[in-house]
Symmetry: none
Subunit: 220 residues, 2 copies
C-alpha cells in the first residue's frame, strides 16, 4: 500500500474542517468538536476519521490534547503553516550550543547560529539543533560534537531518544518507561543509566531526537 492514499469524501471534509479551525482560531478542534460540527453523536466517529487521515499521511496525531498537525492540506484552503512547511527551500533551524543553568533551551544566548536545512529531511518536525557533548550515546551512532535535530515536545514514548534536562545540563538519552518509573539509558556500557527520581527534581523533557548531523573534519 502506498504511503499516500486517496482520501474519502468524508475524510476530505474532516481535513478541511481542521484546516479551517486552525486558520480561524489558531488551534485544532477536539474530537468532540469535530463530531458536533458534523452532527456525529459519538466522538469516536471523529477519532476514527482522524486515524484514517493519519494513516494516509494527511495529518500527524501527536500525544496530548488537540495534537493534530496538518501535513498535507488536501482538504481545501491551505493553512499558513502548512504552506510554510512545504515551501521547502530555505527553512532554518537554530543551533543551540551548551545549555546553561536554568534558562530555557531556546533562550537567545544559547543560539549559536541559524542553519539552513531542508525541514522535510526530518519530516518537518525538527525545531532546533543541539550540539552533543560526550560519548554516552556512542553506540547509537551519536559521537562527541555531533548535532542532533530535536523536535520540541514534552511527550515521548518508551524507547525514544530524548533531550532531557536534569538540573543545569541538557542530556541526550534513550527514554525507558517501566510502570511509573522513568529511566534515561545511555548507549554506551561505560555510562550508567539515570533513574529519574519521581519525588525529587522532575524530568524536564526538552524534546525528542529526530535526526543526527555530523561534520567530519579530517580523519576523526
Amino acid at each position: 500500500m502506498p504511503p499516500t492514499d486517496e482520501l474519502t469524501i468524508r475524510q476530505r471534509e474532516i481535513l478541511a474542517l481542521i484546516e479551517r479551525e486552525v486558520a480561524a482560531r489558531g488551534y485544532p478542534p477536539t474530537r468532540a468538536e469535530i463530531a458536533s460540527a458534523f452532527g456525529f453523536r459519538s466522538a469516536n466517529a471523529a477519532e476514527e476519521h482522524l486515524r484514517a487521515l493519519a494513516r494516509k499521511g494527511a495529518i500527524a496525531l501527536e500525544a496530548g490534547h488537540r495534537g493534530i498537525r496538518v501535513l498535507r492540506g488536501k482538504g481545501r484552503a491551505r493553512s499558513a503553516s502548512a504552506a510554510r512547511e512545504d515551501a521547502g527551500a530555505a527553512a532554518t533551524l537554530p543551533l543551540v550550543g551548551r545549555v546553561a543553568a536554568g534558562a530555557p533551551i531556546l533562550a537567545e544566548q544559547h543560539v549559536e547560529r541559524q542553519v539552513a536545512i531542508d525541514p522535510s529531511l526530518f519530516a518537518g518536525r525538527a525545531d532546533y539543533l543541539l550540539r552533543v557533548r560526550g560519548e554516552s550515546m556512542r553506540d547509537a551512532g551519536i559521537l562527541d560534537g555531533d548535532l542532533v535535530a530535536v523536535r520540541r515536545t514534552p511527550e515521548a514514548r518508551d524507547g525514544e531518544m530524548v533531550v532531557a534536562r536534569i538540573g543545569d545540563e541538557a542530556t541526550v538519552k534513550r527514554l525507558q518507561r517501566r510502570g511509573g518509573q522513568v529511566r534515561l539509558l545511555p548507549a554506551n556500557p561505560d555510562f550508567q543509566p539515570i533513574d529519574v527520581d519521581p519525588a525529587g527534581e522532575p524530568l524536564a523533557l526538552e524534546g525528542v531526537v529526530v535526526g543526527v548531523l555530523r561534520t567530519t573534519v579530517g580523519t576523526r
Copy 2:
C-alpha cells in the same frame, strides 16, 4: 487603564513562545508546556502570565484546552519565518541512493531527490549525499540508512573516510595507505578490510566523506 497596556519583558517572552509554537505545530502550548519551556516549576506561573496577557489584550483566553488565541503579535522581534526568509538561497545537494553497475555516481537515475542544506555546515565542500547501506562503518558512527555528505575528489589522505567504487558497488571505508599498498578499512570488527589489488581493477575514489546525516524515525 487603557485597554492596550505595555507588556513586561517576561510577558513578551511568553507571547513570543506562544507564537512560535502556533507557527511550528499548529496549536498553542498548554500551561504546563509554557512552564517547562521557561523552567517554571508551577504551571500556575504560566496561568498568571496568560491572564496578564489577556487582560492587556495581547491574547484571548477561550474555554477549553489550549484555548489561546493570539490577538496582537508583539512578542517577537523576528519570527521563525522571517529568519527563514533571509537565510537566502540555501544550496541543494543531490541525494544519491543505490549506485548501480557501471554508471557514474551522479548519473541522473541515481539521484533520488535534491536536499536543501546549508553548504557551510560541511565547510562548503560537500558535493552530494549518499545513502549508506550496511553496518560496516558502525563504530565510526555511520549506521545503516545514514546519509553521508561527500566531496568529490580523487585525492585522499591516509586515514580519511572515502567513498570508493569497487566494481559495481560504492562503499564507504577508511583509507589506509601503507607504502605503495592501499587498504579499505571498515569500522566494525565483523567486517574484513579490503586490500586493493594494484594489478587488477584499480581503486576508483569517488570522494571523501565530509559529514553524516541521519533521520531518526521512532526508536531506531
